[in-house]
């Protein structure tokens, strides 16, 4: 029931907010965006439920028991999928509609909804045309691998080059250099490409000094120089799962197993 109600409630909110705000374009864009995200979340949940329904059906179980994989696969294929492409294209239409405030729609099309080549190409074109220096570009640059693989390496590098030119010495440029280096290092890079990637990483680390990106670039070096057996363990400061701050060094004087883990 919630799956249907939530987008509808947000739709009502979306219609109401801009009117209340006297045509506040930023608020309207935000409301429309929240609605889009809720819709995608609901579609994914519905798709998971549909797959589960098939998996639990007697027909499917019988096919599995009989090791009849073709039938099992055909049954599963009938389950309704989440349509990333349709929503991705709609997100891009919304970007057009919201103009200067539409960057988040293009970013969403380029990340969460980027299952498809057509969406990827359109999203890249839209980002390049209007949002090279928009904060939404940073959202894209935080997890662009889906976009890059749908787009292809050369168009991805071209887009990154434009981000660098448009953003000067900004953090977006640092990210763009970082990703261009990662793309250069993939597969079997030539010595020239390796050298270019090294140069890009060094430049990106400098531009991103003090940020998570700089840490990420420095990570292989950090591991080699600080994380070997016999070395004093570097401290970690952070929040626990309840949001309480603590440090690894709080546990000095005890034997500690530090475990990078998750349920996933």
């Amino acid at each position: 029931m919630n799956r249907i109600l939530t987008p509808l409630a947000l739709l009502a909110l979306g219609a109401w907010l801009p009117a209340q705000a006297g045509g506040d374009a930023a608020a309207a864009a935000k409301a429309a965006y929240d609605m889009l995200v809720a819709e995608w979340t609901a579609e994914q949940a519905a798709a998971r439920a549909a797959m589960k329904q098939v998996a639990d059906s007697a027909e499917y179980k019988a096919a599995r028991d009989a090791k009849d994989n073709d039938t099992a696969r055909a049954l599963m294929a009938k389950a309704k999928r989440a349509d990333a492409k349709a929503l991705g294209l709609r997100a891009l239409a919304l970007a057009d509609q919201h103009g200067a405030h539409g960057g988040r729609f293009a970013a969403y099309a380029a990340t969460a909804l980027v299952a498809d080549k057509e969406v990827a190409a359109a999203a890249a074109e839209r980002l390049e045309r209007s949002y090279l220096t928009d904060p939404s570009m940073l959202t894209v640059l935080a997890s662009p691998m889906g976009l890059f693989s749908a787009l292809g390496t050369e168009p991805a590098k071209a887009l990154l080059g434009k981000v660098e030119t448009a953003n000067g010495d900004g953090i977006a440029t640092a990210w763009a250099k970082y990703w261009r280096a990662i793309l250069l290092q993939r597969g079997k890079p030539t010595d020239e490409q390796k050298a270019e990637a090294e140069g890009l990483l060094a430049a990106a680390e400098k531009l991103a000094a003090g940020t998570e990106l700089a840490d990420r670039i420095a990570a292989p070096r950090f591991q080699k120089e600080r994380l070997q057996i016999g070395m004093e363990v570097p401290d970690i400061r952070g929040e626990d799962m309840d949001g309480v701050e603590f440090a690894l060094s709080d546990y000095r004087g005890k034997v500690v197993v530090l475990d990078y883990w998750g349920f996933w």
Partner: protein
């Protein structure tokens, strides 16, 4: 992995020992439900909403999950990526060293 760690924590609950996690579940709601079901009692840093792409694992160059470091009472890294029995042996050795050292008195 989790049942083993749960039993290790249980066995050493009166010793100067701590199992600390860096948890990379992007979704805290999911974490809480699994935590209850799996009897997870140990404390974890949260690696943030980007999950395995979060800042702590990023800085430490963690590529494989789980990645494990065993640190002695002086704060020195002594073992890496020990699992199961090897983890128990490593921890027991370090606790014995600590006692021999007269630390914690």
């Amino acid at each position: 992995m989790i049942p083993h760690e749960r039993s290790l924590v249980e066995r050493l609950k009166d010793k100067p020992f701590a199992l600390l996690g860096v948890n990379s579940d992007a979704d805290k709601v999911y974490y809480e439900s699994e935590k209850a079901q799996n009897g997870v009692s140990w404390r974890s840093f949260w690696n943030g909403p980007k999950g395995t792409q979060g800042p702590i694992s990023g800085k430490w160059n963690v590529r494989g999950w789980p990645t494990i470091y065993v640190v002695d009472h002086k704060g020195v890294i002594r073992f890496m990526n020990v699992r199961g029995e090897a983890m128990d042996t490593a921890v027991d050795q370090l606790l014995a060293e600590m006692t021999a050292d007269g630390a914690g008195k």
